[in-house]
Assembly symmetry: C2
Homo-oligomer: 111 residues x 2
DNA sequence: TCTATATTTCTATAAAAATAGAATCATGGA
DNA sequence: TCCATGATTCTATTTTTATAGAAATATAGA
């Protein structure tokens, strides 16, 4: 993973509404939630919500899948863990730190 | 940790120059690096660098300490781990996931 | 096909963030 | 105290991001 992709992914989280969406989806689990329901839950206007979801999807932080008339968005656990790993890379200045390896465990369990 | 603080911390990372600074400081370790040296290494103008460091310090992602005429900035490992823990909170939708607890190990080893 | 519902795109506007030159402030040595 | 060096603040400008109404698109049931 390179700096640029990490910035995109971090920017996708660094906004009040988007962070709430992400954490809601983390809680919702792999099946995700329909756009309308996300909007209801968080009190966000459809156009605004769509804007933010697009941003998050572009950053690969969320995955979209169509189901009948609904579009379900879910957290992309693997991408999230990739990001966390990148942030803790070279952590502890050479002194080995297990954070990176341990983080990988989440992706394996959730998806 | 609340949403607002997390957004501030994420925004402090979600910028090309700042992410480079952070990763440089993660590598530099607890002793950190002087501002001038950071600027030299990354090729950033003093005023711009100061702007970004202030942003990061405000978000508590870095710590500053004066040493003679130099100001050394270092990564705040504890704050970073707090953020990572927040992001993976409720991960796996109820299915227990060890990521949170394991992350804490880094802070203990680095500071 | 007509209609209701779900979501996105278009558009304009408002708000926030990044950049860097010039001026200022702080520290310590001559 | 004077000067050089290291870092920050001030200022103006440019660029990016967020918001949401209105229009458009998509799906599926009547």
């Amino acid at each position: 993973m390179e700096n640029k992709a990490a910035v995109t992914r971090l920017a996708a989280l660094a906004q009040d509404t988007r962070l709430s969406i992400f954490r809601l989806l983390i809680t919702a689990g792999p099946e995700g939630m329909a756009v309308g329901r996300i909007g209801e839950t968080l009190g966000v206007a459809p156009a605004t919500l769509s804007f933010h979801l697009k941003e998050m999807a572009h950053a690969q932080l969320v995955l979209a899948r169509q189901e009948s008339r609904f579009i379900f968005y879910s957290a992309n656990y693997a991408a999230m863990n990739e990001l966390l790993g990148f942030l803790t890379e070279n952590c502890c200045a050479g002194t080995p730190c297990e954070a990176e390896d341990e983080l990988a465990s989440c992706a394996g369990k959730c998806n």
